[in-house]
């Protein structure tokens, strides 16, 4: 065992020496391997980052939240057909609220974009969301300063507004906004609360939104809009049962005949996850394909260089054999050399993928990390390529006749 380790170490030294003597050639040889491993590791890390980010953000939607909407999240049919569906109305929301009769929160949700104005400052294209008494629980929001709407304010279509953290920062700066009047579109609203910081989802800041009572939204900004019905379930095990009941209620309220298709969509976070997974699986496969191809090309490059190296060093092989190196030792030397070239390529690639991951993290909204398994996989692949494509040249070197080699000029 110890003598094996010594031999291994001697061979590594011999190989390193040979590589150092041909620096340029060694580096060029590893390019194929570098590209292969870089592709595999980077894509793995990008997707790992996306996964972390995506499931994080999607979980904001909550796996226990269902949405009845005009459009499906993942369209499978004709867009025209979806567009011709009737809008979901407040009447239908109320019907569901009244008849669902399970442990769940139901709220209508709709939104519009309007300009916000306070004195001389204005913010364009701000999302104005509808609020009911259930909204804080469903959207998981808490009021930082002031308060949320009362029953009375919601039922009486009062022009009051609860603003996001960023809106407060931009419009009011150091001033306390509570009780101040702002204009949304052409209507004046009184600020009654500021929300706690919420962060962003897919690059959109949730803190730059405002809430007004749902009926107030209709009154001021028009009735012709489809409403989303949001249902938050407390007992996750009842999801399917509740989905069935929601579908039934919607069909009843819309008086659909048994042979008619649903003219609404029941959406759930799961559907997004599914689509997302299909997408990333495709990406994975493509990246693995590209990676495997570059590793193959790189491997053939390695084999080529090793063959050249064996031919060039025929005399060295002859000398070593004359001095007592066995076939095993000679082939071992060349395989170790090949593995070192490839692992070096692998290491360089991993270094670059760390850099790349840092850059992606900085310049895109997606978080990016290099997972340990992808590093190990990259190193494993490159050493495997080293062994696999090193075997043939090494065997060739080992089988050479010492006399022939010694007379090689």
């Amino acid at each position: 065992m110890i003598s094996f380790l010594i031999k291994l170490w001697e061979n590594i030294l011999i190989a390193l020496r040979a590589l150092a003597e041909n620096k340029m050639r060694s580096v060029l040889t590893t390019v194929g391997i570098i590209i292969g491993v870089l592709t595999v590791v980077s894509v793995a890390s990008i997707i790992a980052g996306l996964n972390a980010g995506f499931s994080d953000q999607i979980s904001n939607l909550g796996s226990n939240t269902l949405y009845i909407q005009k459009y499906p999240w993942v369209a499978k049919g004709d867009w025209e057909e979806y567009r011709n569906r009737p809008n979901i109305t407040m009447r239908e929301v109320e019907y569901i609220q009244k008849n669902l009769q399970v442990d769940a929160l139901v709220a209508p949700s709709t939104a519009t974009r309007r300009e916000l104005k306070y004195k001389d400052d204005s913010l364009k294209d701000i999302i104005i969301r509808s609020a009911t008494i259930n909204t804080p629980q469903i959207d998981a929001i808490t009021v930082d300063n002031g308060r949320f709407f009362t029953h009375h304010e919601i039922n009486h279509k009062q022009n009051k507004v609860v603003i996001g953290f960023e809106i407060k920062d931009k419009l009011f700066k150091e001033i306390d906004p509570i009780g101040k009047k702002i204009r949304i579109g052409n209507t004046s609203f009184t600020v009654i609360g500021v929300l706690e910081k919420r962060g962003s989802i897919f690059g959109h800041s949730l803190d730059s939104e405002v809430y007004i009572p749902v009926e107030s939204l209709f009154k001021n900004f028009g009735f012709h809009r489809s409403i989303d019905i949001v249902i938050k379930i407390n007992d996750i095990t009842k999801v399917n049962q509740i989905k069935d009941k929601l579908q039934f209620l919607m069909r009843v309220v819309r008086k659909l005949k048994p042979n008619e298709k649903n003219n609404f969509s029941l959406n759930q976070q799961e559907m997004l996850m599914e689509t997302y997974n299909n997408l990333t699986n495709g990406l994975y496969t493509a990246a693995m394909g590209i990676g495997a191809l570059s590793l193959l090309v790189g491997g053939i490059g390695i084999m080529n260089i090793m063959l050249v190296s064996v031919a060039e060093r025929k005399r060295e092989i002859g000398i070593r054999k004359a001095l007592g190196a066995t076939r095993g030792i000679i082939s071992f030397q060349f395989i170790v050399e090949s593995i070192i070239i490839c692992s070096l390529g692998g290491l360089i690639a991993i270094f670059f993928s760390f850099l790349l991951s840092l850059v992606i993290d900085k310049i895109t909204p997606f978080p990016s990390t290099v997972p340990l398994w992808s590093v190990l996989m990259g190193l494993g692949f490159s050493s495997f390529v080293g062994i696999f494509f090193g075997i043939y040249p090494a065997m060739k070197a080992a089988r050479m006749e010492p006399i022939e080699c010694l007379h090689f000029e």
Binding site: S3, E21, I319, R320, L323, G324, T326
Partner: protein, 233 residues
């Protein structure tokens, strides 16, 4: 001569090369006994078969037929790995073209045979330094071959041949690439080594080089033409 204690016992050695459809008979049945501590020259013109004989004695090649015993071991029956081991432990080569690893230091070149026999690195260094001292090159141990003169290179090669304490030193035209003065210095080293108890086989085509030995075996057309014992005055 004592056949039982002979260092080398060649019996009916035949070597035939197949070149295309033609058979080339390099050795046609050579019988040769070499005793321990002998200093012997193998002489002959080029194409006589002396290089083939040297390769067979040096275990770099195997005979087509015949028996080769080296210290009573049957070499002609050995496989590749066993031959490598014999070369490593029993034979020290000195070549006309030196055959040093060009990018390795003198010391590393001398250490090579010890690496292959699995000697630990500290002992290796010690023994290699000792061998370089014997050929008077202690001060050049860290030089690479291209930083050494021809004579110095050949002395490194001799140190390498000595370092594993082989049973015989096999020198193939060791002065062939050297000027006559340097050649003489090299031959002096061989003479000294023989007096110290080393068996030396010298392959050459020059009479004056061959005469450094105590015995000259003349090869001609694949046969031993003459076996000549030199009497020193």
């Amino acid at each position: 001569m004592d056949k039982n204690n002979a260092l080398i016992d060649l019996n009916g050695i035949i070597k035939t090369y197949h070149v295309g459809t033609v058979d080339v008979h390099a050795l046609r049945g050579v019988d040769l006994l070499i005793q321990n501590k002998e200093y012997i020259s193998i002489m002959g013109p080029s194409g006589s078969g002396k290089s083939t004989l040297m390769n067979i004695i040096g275990c770099l090649d195997t005979p087509t037929s015949g028996i080769y015993k080296l210290e009573s071991e049957l070499v002609h029956e050995m496989d590749d790995n066993k031959l490598a081991e014999i070369r490593n432990r029993k034979i020290g080569f000195v070549f006309q073209t030196f055959n040093l690893l060009p990018r390795a230091s003198a010391l590393h070149n001398v250490e090579l045979p010890l690496i292959y026999s699995g000697v630990s690195s500290s002992e290796r260094r010690l023994r290699a330094e000792e061998a370089l001292e014997k050929v008077g090159l202690s001060d050049r141990k860290d030089h690479k071959p291209n930083e050494l003169s021809g004579g110095q290179r050949q002395r490194v090669a001799i140190a390498r041949a000595l370092v594993n304490r082989p049973s015989l030193i096999l020198a193939d035209e060791p002065t062939g690439n050297l000027d006559s003065k340097t050649g003489e210095e090299i031959m002096e080293i061989f003479g000294r080594l023989n007096k110290a108890g080393n068996t030396i086989i010298l392959v050459t085509h020059e009479r004056y080089v061959a005469e450094n030995a105590n015995r000259i075996v003349h090869i001609h057309d694949g046969n031993i033409a003459k076996d000549e014992i030199l009497v020193r005055n």
